[in-house]
């Protein structure tokens, strides 16, 4: 059985490419070793802290390869998919929200879920941060103290107790989110919180854990019962807002006929100028055929790029070499926070998103590379990680039309 499109990687770019292809009635297979970066992300879409990056990207930046039109189209279609799943993403291209982080710094994002919208720092109404006693991954006191340095109408943090946290181990955001999915649990929470909220501001920030399956329903239920607005703040992984994006994209992909296999080690090879793929499940190797192969295996963090002790770097699926200085000390900065030169290491591509070999020629005409494996962007410094993922996914699927 041959596929029109075979995608490698189940992160944001791979899943989104899968949705786009399936929605265009392509026969699509998505193969991945494991889930991708959504589970550790913030669940927001950052395109660029500085909008001029999209308008006038440096020539070797992924934005230069995908083009402005792809960005606009990608964001539009992403919003449609999210809205259809009942989890609308708010915002518009070219503008950024400024939202509080769990340390009280401000972070920027272009599209954010409705569960975070009330955290918009440009709004004048006072707000307070709440922590869940016994939950270690969010310190409202620390975040609030930093926010108060900059924002005067911010009030003291409050404690909102959560009933029924796991008692034999520490709880994670996912534990709490699963509780919030239950209406009866939310009723208990409302009763428990009511006394603590007397006199509190009508905007309350919480660690991002307001439900996995029905976050919006949970948010609205509590808001209307208590007469206030809630907003989520991204915290240490696992990321509940990221899991929601993963779930909705996976469902959309599969509902449109896409086939998803997560688990095997995916190996690629280039034979006679054509990219071919096999999947190894505990030694059982299966070949898959496809017209077009889209490599969305991610950067170093996601396992798409591998750096060797001897200074050689290559992609983990096809073994394509990556240009980098031979001296490892040139990869990083002496400052932990960077910027680090390795951030820009990756596959160079042309405007069709075909990876280029050392001579600047496409490694294989039927191969595309998208997302965090692309060279030329310092995603952390630019705030461009998700923008690159969505726009390159959109562009790659467009090239297969």
């Amino acid at each position: 059985m041959a596929y029109d499109i075979l995608i490698i990687g189940a992160g944001l770019s791979g899943l989104f490419a899968g949705c786009l292809a399936a929605r265009r009635r392509k026969k699509t297979l998505l193969l991945a070793r494991g889930v991708g970066g959504t589970h550790i992300g913030a669940g927001t879409i950052g395109v660029a802290d500085d909008p001029s990056l999209v308008k006038r990207p440096p020539p070797d930046h992924p934005y230069a390869a995908v083009g402005k039109k792809s960005m606009q189209a990608a964001l539009d279609e992403f919003r449609i998919i999210c809205a259809e799943a009942g989890y609308p993403m708010r915002g518009e291209p070219g503008k950024n929200f400024s939202l509080p982080t769990a340390t009280g710094a401000a972070r920027h994002a272009c599209l954010i879920p409705e569960t975070m919208i009330a955290g918009d720092l440009s709004r004048p109404e006072p707000f307070a941060l709440a922590h869940f006693p016994g939950f270690r991954d969010f310190s409202a006191a620390f975040a609030a103290a930093n926010i108060r340095l900059q924002i005067t109408n911010h009030q003291l943090p409050i404690a909102l107790p959560l009933p029924h946290l796991p008692i034999h181990r520490d709880s994670y955001a996912t534990d709490i989110a699963r509780l919030f999915d239950r209406p009866d649990y939310r009723n208990e929470v409302i009763a428990a919180w009511e006394p603590s909220l007397a006199g509190a501001p009508k905007r309350i920030g919480l660690p991002a854990a307001l439900g996995l399956q029905c976050a919006l329903e949970a948010k609205r239920h509590i808001e209307s019962a208590l007469g206030l607005e809630l907003f989520e703040i991204p915290i240490l992984p696992p990321s509940v807002p990221g899991l929601r994006l993963f779930n909705l994209l996976r469902d959309d992909f599969q509902n449109h006929g896409g086939r998803l296999i997560i688990g095997p080690t995916v190996k690629g090879r280039i034979e006679n100028g054509t990219a071919a793929v096999s999947a190894d499940t505990n030694g059982r190797v299966k070949d898959y055929k496809a017209e077009v192969v889209i490599l969305a295996s991610g950067g170093f963090l996601n396992g798409g790029l591998i750096a060797k002790f001897d200074g050689a770097i290559h992609d983990s699926v096809f073994g394509l070499p990556i240009e980098a200085p031979a001296q490892r000390s040139a990869w990083t900065s002496e400052h932990f926070l960077g910027p680090h030169p390795f951030a820009k290491f990756g596959l160079r591509v042309n405007k069709t998103l075909q990876p280029l070999d050392a001579n600047g020629k496409p490694a294989a005409p039927n191969l595309r590379a998208i997302g965090s494996i692309l060279a030329g962007a310092d995603r952390l410094s630019e705030g461009s990680r998700e923008g690159i993922e969505l726009a390159s996914a959109w562009r790659a699927v467009e090239t297969t039309a």
Binding site: A105, A106, S139, A145, L149, G303, K308, H335, L337, H340
Partner: protein
């Protein structure tokens, strides 16, 4: 602040704390000053090997004898920080074949316990060892947690009515004619100045001893010898492994807690506070590691760090270029006979394993100078409590499992058994109690005291949690908390940077994602600039 004491000790490493403990036990009024934290210098940056003496039997038989005796003694005096791993000397294919017989004979001469065993038995005990080893000898090496050891010593000093004052930096030595009578300095936490008068000053500042001596107008040439170590992400061996060959680079692997450490190199550096770790040094250790364990490179390197050995250079002798050839033995300098300056003794050089003996010599000499005849008691005084047992992460886990979660989770108080650092099983209660005791907001102190952030994730998760607790407990101004968080992350990074390949690079990108993208710490206001080579910190 002004005070006077009988014996004043400068330096809070193993030598200084050992001397303070010895002096306090003899009933002297004793004060110890340290400019950083306990184990801030070389004692906190060594590979953790309690020498059997085997390593020195051929080159330095005197040191070998001392190590063997002290090793046996310390196991009894401070069992909670010594793991009886045992040691092996193995002859790898690249090692000189004739060394093994000389080694064996010299061990007998130096009273270093040794048993020859077969390579097959050694391999059975340590399956990752190079199968091509030709000889193997069992010795009584052990693994010692120097952070725990120094905390115990400080407690013992205080229990004997001695004082240990941390973050007190000496800036001047007070002389009256040709006699040293005290020191002045600065409390780095409060900014207050202090003056301490003493009958005698013991300079135990290790690699920094030359600076102290210079303040007294004496020249003591101490060459900082940089020794590199790399921690690998698991216990590759459960026994200390030594190469059976003349001592050189990367010939020892020590299992320490949950990791194993390979060491060391030896390069003279000009400044004990500021030195870089270079790619070639890392490569050298990795290559030598492969000689002992062929699969060495396939394991994840966690971090690399260096300690600076205080190598004493006798200015009267010819210049010695190779710092490994300089004496590892200690030198006791009497500045009265040497420089005509009374009231100060310097102890330079030496090694962790023999710290007690060095302290005894030093305090014996001080007694003679003070005209006091008091017997040394350290040989027969437990440093640990009598029922102390080896402290391990598995014990921490057992204690957590047996008494955790008694507090109902819905109460307003966070459960005290909550685990903040999952790698080293550090609980909220431990952090809060450390903070109550020390009042120090410095995350690196929590690391040295509790091992917070020292495990496989290198503080990826716990740094945020811990800074929140510090902030809540000590009620700090946010820029102070922010600075502490960033300086801690920078400190972890300093050790990780030299081993950035494979999974380490992946882990770095993960940590950057957490701290920059999710938490935005790069935009937080700080109280002080983050130092790339932090030497000492104040609040």
């Amino acid at each position: 602040m002004k005070l006077s004491t009988e014996i004043l000790i400068l330096g809070g490493g193993a030598t200084g704390l050992g001397a303070a403990w010895d002096a306090a036990l003899r009933g002297f009024k004793t004060v110890l000053l340290e400019k950083g934290d306990l184990a801030h210098g070389t004692s906190g940056r060594y590979h953790g090997l309690l020498h059997s003496g085997g390593r020195y039997v051929l080159r330095d038989p005197q040191s070998a004898r001392e190590c063997a005796a002290e090793n046996a003694l310390l196991r009894r005096l401070m069992p909670s920080c010594i793991e009886d791993t045992g040691g092996l000397f193995v002859t790898a294919p690249a090692d000189p074949a004739d060394y093994a017989d000389q080694f064996f004979a010299a061990c007998k001469t130096c009273a270093v316990p040794v048993i020859e065993t077969s390579p097959a038995e050694a391999l059975q005990r340590e399956p990752l060892l190079n199968p091509k080893i030709t000889r193997a000898f069992r010795v009584e090496d052990a693994s010692c947690d120097s952070f725990d050891a120094l905390h115990l010593l400080a407690r013992a000093v205080r229990a004997a009515n001695g004082e240990v004052m941390l973050r007190h930096r000496v800036t001047q030595i007070i002389r009256s004619g040709n006699r040293i009578v005290g020191v002045t300095g600065e409390n780095l936490v409060t900014g207050e100045s202090f003056t301490i008068y003493a009958d005698i000053v013991l300079n135990c500042a290790g690699a920094w001893a030359g600076r102290i001596a210079a303040m007294a107008g004496c020249e003591v040439k101490v060459t900082p010898g940089k020794g590199l170590m790399i921690a690998m992400n698991s216990r590759l061996v459960n026994t200390v492994i030594n190469r059976c060959k003349p001592p050189s680079d990367g010939d020892i692997i020590v299992p320490v807690g949950t990791v194993s450490v390979i060491g060391t190199t030896d390069t003279a550096v000009p400044n004990p506070d500021k030195y870089a770790i270079e790619d070639w040094e890392v490569e050298l250790l990795m290559a030598e590691g492969e000689q002992i364990i062929p699969s060495f490179r396939q394991h994840r390197a966690l971090r690399a760090w260096a300690g600076v050995r205080p190598l004493y250079e006798d200015t009267k002798k010819e210049e010695q270029k190779d710092s490994r050839l300089m004496s590892r033995a200690h030198a006791l300098l009497d500045h009265e006979s040497r420089d005509g300056v009374a009231g100060m003794l310097s102890m330079v050089g030496g090694k962790f394993t023999t710290f007690r003996r060095m302290a005894q010599l030093l305090v014996d000499t001080a007694c003679a100078k003070l005209g006091a005849e008091r017997k040394c008691l350290t040989k027969d005084t437990l440093i640990d409590s009598p029922d102390a047992k080896l402290h391990t992460v598995s014990k921490r886990l057992a204690s957590l499992e047996s008494n955790k979660w008694h507090v109902a989770s819905s109460t307003a108080q966070p459960p005290s058994h909550q685990i903040i650092c999952e790698c080293e099983l550090v609980t909220r209660a431990q952090i809060e109690s450390h903070l109550r005791e020390s009042g120090s907001p410095i995350l690196n102190d929590l690391r040295r005291d509790l091992r917070l952030g020292m495990g496989p994730c290198q503080a990826g998760f716990c740094a945020y949690r811990a800074v929140g607790i510090i902030h809540e407990t000590l009620q700090l101004a946010p820029p102070i908390s922010n600075s502490q968080l960033l300086q801690f992350l920078q400190e972890r990074w300093k050790g990780e940077r030299p081993v950035m390949w494979g999974h380490s690079l992946r882990s770095l990108e993960f940590d950057l994602h957490i701290y920059r993208n999710l938490l935005g710490v790069d935009t937080l206001p700080v109280e002080r600039e983050i130092e790339v080579y932090p030497t000492e910190q104040t609040s």
